[in-house]
Symmetry: C2
Subunit: 350 residues, 2 copies
């Protein structure tokens, strides 16, 4: 290809899309045209990318004319319908929905972990992992390379923006409603104060909601199964033991995870810290005596995943306990998608 | 003893003490006099218990004259100094600090789990467990009796009131400061908005802080070691494998725990639910498809610990994943202390 490839951003007006436009404006400019696509409802809006105003066009087959790479951030059913239509026109689709992640003919890619997998894409589609899984993949892949990963026990502390802009709006409204009340004392009930749960199954302000996604079999949530199945696929470990409990907490942006990881070989705290310090896409921030551990607010707006609280289990020399934070809209969504698209751009350019 | 025993409440004006006075007013009245004791700074205040105003007296050796049972909710160093002084006067001390919990001559008691242990108290002191540990003990003890507990991986979602009234005040102030801001977006930093972290090592509103307690060896926090050591002692399992990650979240009251429990024997989801349904001190609330799972706000002001999200691990037939919530000021502190004191009252009465 003698020209720069043309990019389409599908879902440009959503929470992830907004972050994406900021990213595209700040990263190395590998793209020719950047076309913004959204639902017909949002068509005609003008958004700024790379310092220029661009008019949003409605999703249609023609919207992909002349496009080389399309990044989709859309509901599962929209991706399921439209990604194959774009791919049939020769567009390489990088999809951030759950529609294709477990399709054996669709690679699931974290560029720091398994970039070569992006080249094998028989359907013309590459999937971007779930934001919860992405929060831990860079760190765990680096530890796996050294120690051989055998088992993961994960508890999540997920932000409202993982449920999209409606999640952010709901949490902000709820916070205003509870800010001056006695909620959380022995006598005052959130449910009497909060009138709208938004996209969550219970009030989120001043609360923790142990449910994300839809109901899967045997009491598991779809989000918990994504953590298990996607970790296995990305790391190439089909028998990896994974138990996850996914919990939403009243944070606007940035997911956190408490991870207990068991390995084939004996670990040491210091060596694990060295590995994480050198791992691509990871920042080690781990000196609790000096108040250094990642919190969601520390990492909002940053690219890497942050790891702290690295400890060797006191009762298992092969196990590490960690706390990880990552911006769910950046590395957890827009950034990883952009990184995959850039891999494809480099491939097309060569 | 032909009269009702006399009770002293040490730390009557604190966050736990306040809940204690409410509890003493609502539970069966097994006490003669109830004397309220606090630091000299709070002496002279008048508080209501059992419908009567009682004047708070300053902590001193004489304050224990005529007292049979004393409940201490005080800082470690205050308990360490004063509990032995009271015990030397023949008072049975029920202590909620960390000063004596791991002393082999001090029983660590959860009445639903190991009530008989309260009778063996060579120092005249009985310890009340840490609130985080208490959130899971009733449920896990019941499962242990059936399946044989081998290993625990715990991630906590701890409330601000676990750090006392100053924690509650700090979180409420912070919530007012952030309610109208763009904190948590890609560009706005909590640390620029929040001027006082209170007793926490980082801002808590709209954040998660993976640190509770003081620094122990090898990167562990004192809170995480309490979960390990106290669980082992209460359950009588000195070799139980325990890894905990303790995290504070912006909730006023009620701790939550995600627990991965591995047993000697194979488990089933349904049978585990049956066990928890019958377990003393436990409410099973577990039908996610109907929106039924415990959240901190659901359980504030209630006595039992609530258990939901009961799942058998998909990769280990001997492992269960659970989510538990309990009021850290009630079962996690005041209620369990009152229950222990009532065990002693019944013993003295007999």
């Amino acid at each position: 290809m003698s020209r720069k490839p043309n990019l389409a951003v599908v879902g440009a007006t959503g929470a992830v899309g907004t972050v994406m436009l900021g990213l595209l404006s700040s990263r190395e400019d590998v793209w020719g045209e950047i076309r913004l696509i959204a639902s017909p409802r949002s068509a005609g809006r003008r958004l700024t990318v790379r310092g220029e105003e661009v008019e949003v066009v409605a999703l249609s087959e023609e919207a992909f004319d002349g496009i080389d790479v399309a990044m989709f951030d859309a509901p599962d059913e929209v991706s399921a319908q439209w990604a194959p239509i774009a791919a049939a026109k020769g567009v390489v689709v990088v999809d951030n929905s759950g529609a294709f992640r477990m399709d054996p003919d669709v690679p699931l890619v974290v560029p720091e972990v398994n970039a070569p997998a992006a080249r094998f894409r028989p359907r013309g589609i590459i999937a971007n992992p779930n934001c919860t899984t992405l929060t831990m993949m860079c760190g765990l892949a680096a530890l796996h390379a050294e120690y051989g990963l055998r088992e993961l026990v994960v508890a999540s502390y997920q932000a409202a923006s993982g449920a999209g802009q409606s999640g952010v709006d709901a949490l902000r409204d709820q916070l205003k409603q509870v800010a001056g009340t006695g909620v959380g004392e022995q006598t005052c009930d959130l449910r009497a104060v909060i009138t709208d749960n938004g996209p969550f199954p219970a009030p989120l302000a001043l609360n923790a909601v142990p449910w994300a996604g839809s109901a899967a079999a045997d009491g598991w949530s779809s989000e918990e199964l994504k953590v298990r199945n996607e970790s296995r696929k990305i790391l190439g470990l089909p028998d990896l033991k994974v138990s996850a409990t996914c919990v939403r907490i009243p944070v606007i942006t940035a997911h956190s995870l408490a991870v207990h990881a068991v390995f084939e070989r004996e670990v040491s705290q210091e060596h694990a810290q060295d590995i994480l310090r050198e791992a691509p896409g990871v920042v080690l921030y781990d000196n609790p005596a000096a108040g250094e551990f990642p919190t969601p607010n520390d990492v909002v707006g940053t690219d890497p995943t942050w790891v702290g609280r690295v400890r060797r289990s006191l009762d298992d020399p092969n196990a590490l306990d960690l706390f990880l934070c990552g911006d769910n809209l950046r590395k957890g969504a827009a950034l990883n998608t952009a990184q995959i698209a850039e891999l494809v751009a480099a491939e097309l350019g060569g």
